[in-house]
């Protein structure tokens, strides 16, 4: 009886925590479908006639559409290139580098120590000279520092967890180093690598400062979203809510896509 009470108390507590955590998100999503008059009421409204107006406003706003496009290009390119370079680098670090391994890993991590401002100012100077200022390529280049180092840092332990004997067993079947990496180490480490990629993606997707200072003319979504909030007194709450929803959707879609990709990888195709 006591156990029953305790377990139901625990459940209620858990439900409360989830409620607290999710309410702001739900409220934002609801807000995205409300008209302004439904939002600015003294008594919050749970029932209202939903509208897509806010989304239409946003998607018709050329600066937001552009921002979304820029974000997808910049973040997509920097994460993909970061993964293509970082994952093999992490594998070689985990498997083939013995001396200086700790130092190398620390160096990679130390790239993340510097505050973004400290990176931004020298880059502005360099980019102005190189003609990369205010270009997407320039922004991708800066983001690569973040993505490559984060991917390496998070992937080394993933590869270290792959048992050495599995690679040796594959070598006994005649596989060379490249084949071992592609057919064994990579798929076996993939669930952990997946976490590393998602983390890296979110990190650069939300990046504001570097985007603001280095490519204000080619603004990414966070820059655009930041500018909406400072539109003046007449705050378009519904539009802000809708833009938040739009900002959040790509990472979610990305995670979903990666998930199904992983599941596919884990079941190699039968010939």
């Amino acid at each position: 009886m006591v156990r029953l009470i305790r377990s139901s108390l625990a459940r209620i507590f858990l439900a409360l925590m989830v409620f607290v955590a999710l309410t702001p998100i739900l409220w934002t999503i609801l807000g995205a479908f409300k008209r302004l008059k439904d939002i600015v009421t003294p008594v919050p409204k749970l029932f209202f006639s939903p509208t897509l107006e806010n989304f239409v406003t946003i998607l018709q706003n050329p600066s937001i559409r552009q921002g979304l496009g820029h974000s997808v290009i910049v973040v997509g390119a920097s994460v993909i290139i970061g993964a293509l370079l970082g994952v093999p680098a992490a594998y070689s670090l985990a498997r083939h580098v013995r001396t200086l391994k700790g130092d190398l890993q620390f160096f990679v991590l130390s790239l993340r120590f510097m505050p973004p401002v400290a990176i931004a100012i020298p880059f502005i100077v360099l980019y102005l000279d190189l003609g990369l200022y205010d270009t997407l390529a320039g922004l991708i280049l800066v983001y690569l520092v973040t993505t490559i180092s984060t991917v390496i840092w998070l992937s080394v332990p993933a590869f270290e967890r792959v048992p050495k004997e599995i690679e040796e067993a594959a070598a006994m079947e005649g596989c060379g180093p490249g084949e071992i990496f592609l057919k064994f180490s990579l798929p076996i480490a993939m669930p952990s690598l997946f976490g590393a990629l998602v983390f890296t993606f979110v990190l650069v997707w939300n990046e504001l400062l570097l985007a603001l200072t280095l490519a204000a003319g080619n603004a990414t979504l966070p820059v655009v979203a930041a500018s909406i909030t400072s539109l003046g007194k007449e705050v378009p709450w519904g539009v802000i809510n809708a833009s938040t929803v739009i900002l959040v959707i790509p990472p979610l879609v990305f995670i979903g896509l990666l998930m199904s990709f992983i599941n596919g990888m884990m079941k190699p195709a039968r010939r």
């Binding site: 599995i166 070598a171 079947e173 010939r271």
Partner: protein
């Protein structure tokens, strides 16, 4: 199928030498066990033959082909690992067939061979499962199937049974032995379990600190240990050792330590001068309660009787030091009783105090 020849094998890690000039010949079809204490270099030796470890010096040939510098996949060798090393992202069937698929063996042929080895090892109903959904014994069988299907020239096993419980270990040991009787593939099997080695081997290679201490059939190693180290390592319960002084009296030679006086035939030993100090080894399993008037009886007081089912190990205080012997007639024995036990002269081992080598003449 092939014979293996290792010539002057050396291995060092950095400056630290692990194996020094090891020479070993293994005949075709032979089942050889590498036995030795932890860290003596058994796995290192096996992995050098497999090609997983660089060879610092010397040559390895398999079937008269020098494979010293060949990739592991080109040596015609299959290995079963202690941790099984199954591919977690593939089903059992894919694990077993991976090597053949890679070699582009026709699909029908693969299916036939998978069915065959799965049948031999009782894996038919698990073929579509992932390794993580199998028990330890089943995983071990998959690892064996994966090695067998390639019909290699040489099987290597590195402590394949040490992660299993005692019963299963015994059963798989028998299965491995039966498999060898069928396939007759040359096999090297590493273990540090001397009982496992005794039951499974055609020949035991007993290693110590990177060198071969003795090699021979299980009974040679058990009955004629070449050194004190081998005598101590093999056999359970462990051998009793006593420092004795040689006493020559006319034609007969006795080994004396306190109240112990063991007579041995002088012609079977070398270097038993009068007054020499030697180490005498007596196997508990070769001794039993003494009958009236037995030669070489040893007397003492019982400390403990350890019941092992059909027999018991009796631990006895002889001149203040413990000795043990094994007997079936243990039901009447009680701690505190005086007891007397004896040994055949042919089972007495005598070792040099300086070199640890057996003083028994060869042959």
């Amino acid at each position: 199928m092939a014979n293996i020849r290792c010539v002057n094998i050396r291995k060092s890690y950095g400056g630290h030498s692990v194996i020094e000039n090891l020479n070993l010949d293994i005949a075709d079809h032979e089942f050889v066990v590498f036995l030795g204490p932890s860290g003596c270099g058994k796995s290192t030796m096996l992995r050098m033959i497999a090609g997983l470890e660089d060879i610092t010096g010397g040559t390895v040939s398999i079937g008269d082909r020098d494979v010293t510098h060949l990739h592991p996949g080109e040596r015609g060798v299959a290995m079963v690992f202690q941790s099984y090393a199954l591919y977690p992202h593939m089903t059992v069937e894919e694990n077993i067939a991976f090597g053949l698929r890679r070699q582009k063996v026709p699909q029908a042929e693969i299916a036939r061979r998978v069915q065959h080895v799965a049948g031999l090892l009782g894996l038919e109903s698990f073929l579509q499962r992932k390794p993580k959904n199998l028990s330890g014994g089943q995983q071990q069988r998959v690892a064996m199937a994966r090695a067998m299907i390639k019909t290699p020239k040489l099987f290597l096993f590195d402590e394949p049974l040490s992660n299993l419980d005692a019963k299963l270990r015994e059963r798989l040991r028998t299965e491995i032995r039966k498999m060898h009787l069928d396939l007759k593939t040359t096999t090297i099997f590493v273990t540090h379990d001397q009982l496992e080695a005794m039951t499974i081997a055609d020949r035991i290679v007993l290693m110590r600190a990177g060198a071969i201490e003795q090699q021979g059939t299980p009974s040679e190693i058990f009955d004629r240990p070449a050194t004190r180290f081998v005598a101590d390592f093999i056999g359970s319960p462990a051998m009793n050792f006593r420092g004795c002084v040689v006493s020559r009296d006319g034609g007969s030679v006795s080994l004396v330590a306190g109240s112990i006086r063991l007579e041995v035939p002088a012609s079977e030993f070398d270097g038993l001068q009068h007054g020499a100090k030697v180490e005498v080894g007596l196997r508990p399993s070769k001794m039993d309660l003494a009958a009236e008037g037995d030669l070489n009886a040893i007397s003492g007081k019982i400390i403990l009787v350890e019941n092992m089912g059909s027999e018991a190990q009796v631990i006895v205080d002889v001149d203040g030091q413990e000795m043990s012997f094994v007997t079936k007639a243990f039901r009447t024995l009680e701690p505190g009783q005086p007891v007397s036990f004896s040994i055949e002269p042919a089972s007495i081992h005598v070792f040099s105090k300086e070199t640890g080598r057996s003083l028994r003449k060869a042959g």
